[in-house]
């Protein structure tokens, strides 16, 4: 599956390049800020663009990343990412650009801030809390008498009025019998 995707990406790369060439037909404004990184090219650019595209949600799909979708909108976004990567824009700048346009939902993984922090921290917190509970309850059980300890002294026979009444009728239990 992955090699197939890579092959598709490699085959489609020249198409993206053509899209970039048709800039006279439609030209968007450059990003507000200059590229923060060095311009990338070749395999490095392809890999970086694919990595960034895997973290962005295809806006017209259901839970698919831009990298994994073949929808028209996703292909256009991929080509835009390619272009920005080759210009030297960093992942942060490119993701910010898309979040600016499409809103937070374009991120496949929610950012770890605000209410989202609960989602990020709760699973780990639950595991730690559970472990702590197991440890402390295990220690408490060690303090209690284990199964090898002598059984507690039986309560005084007279403590149970019914038992006392029965014993009075039938006499004491035979030796070795069940008390």
């Amino acid at each position: 599956m992955i090699p197939l995707l890579m092959l598709m990406l490699a085959v489609s790369a020249p198409v993206f390049a053509e899209d970039g060439g048709s800039r006279s037909a439609s030209e968007a404004a450059p990003l507000d800020e200059p590229p923060a990184g060095p311009p990338l090219s070749g395999d490095e650019a392809t890999q970086e663009a694919r990595r960034i595209a895997s973290g962005l949600r295809c806006p017209v799909c259901q839970g698919l990343s831009v990298a994994d979708s073949n929808a028209d909108a996703a292909r256009a976004m991929k080509s835009r990412i390619d272009e920005l990567v080759t210009q030297g824009y960093t992942e942060e700048q490119i993701v910010d650009y898309f979040v600016d346009r499409y809103g937070e939902f374009v991120r496949l993984e929610p950012e770890a801030e605000g209410m989202n922090l609960v989602l990020w921290l709760l699973p780990g917190g639950l595991v730690l809390g559970g472990l702590g509970w197991l440890l402390t309850s295990g220690r408490r059980r060690e303090d209690e008498p284990g199964p090898d300890a002598a059984p507690p002294e039986p309560a005084e026979a007279s403590a149970d009025p019914h038992r006392a009444a029965v014993l009075a009728d039938v006499g004491p239990p035979p030796i070795g019998g069940r008390a």
């Binding site: 037909a25 404004a29 600016d100 709760l122």
Partner: protein, 175 residues
């Protein structure tokens, strides 16, 4: 049996934030379109006019006039529904200084030419073959319509088909 306050407190501390997060999360539509750009400066662009090979439109040149920018496609049914409304709005508001442009989204120029010949062409349609401008405007589907004021600020975004009345309501204060 007495209440175990410690267990209750720990249980509440765990479940209340979780339920609250899920409740707000499920309340949101995952596919909800963003109106992030409303109130902000419209991204500038240069686009070719469909059918006029060497004629281009530059948004920067349109400062001082309210602009209606309608992203559409011939394969989009809601676009057909709003088309008569756009024709009427363009008739009424072009006279009053509003500039209307369509932007063809993910479609072939030939299809657009046929559609406009059949249904009527109220305003020039611009061509955005690589969806550069659509991405810049955060377009997630068609139709989406942006209303830009004289200062080049996006004052309203219609997600889905608009009606004449709804558009008029947004345009009137800009005139």
């Amino acid at each position: 049996m007495g209440v175990n306050w410690k267990v209750l407190a720990v249980g509440l501390a765990l479940t209340v934030p979780l339920v609250a997060t899920l409740a707000t999360g499920f309340g949101k539509q995952v596919k909800a379109v963003s109106n992030n750009l409303e109130g902000r400066e419209a991204p500038v662009f240069t686009m070719e006019v469909l059918g006029e090979r060497d004629q281009t439109v530059d948004l920067g040149d349109l400062r001082g006039k309210p602009v209606v920018l309608n992203f559409w496609a011939t394969w989009c049914q809601p676009c057909k529904i709003e088309h008569p409304h756009l024709i009427k709005a363009a008739q009424d508001y072009s006279k009053r200084g509003v500039t209307f442009y369509g932007v063809l989204y993910s479609d072939e120029p030939d299809n657009a030419a046929r559609f406009l010949k059949r249904e009527g062409q109220p305003f020039p349609v611009l061509y955005d073959p690589a969806q550069r401008v659509a991405i810049d405007y955060g377009v997630t589907g068609v139709p989406e319509t942006f209303v830009i004021d004289r200062d080049g600020r996006i004052v309203h975004k219609f997600n889905g088909p608009l009606s004449y009345m709804a558009l008029a309501e947004v345009l009137e204060p800009l005139l």
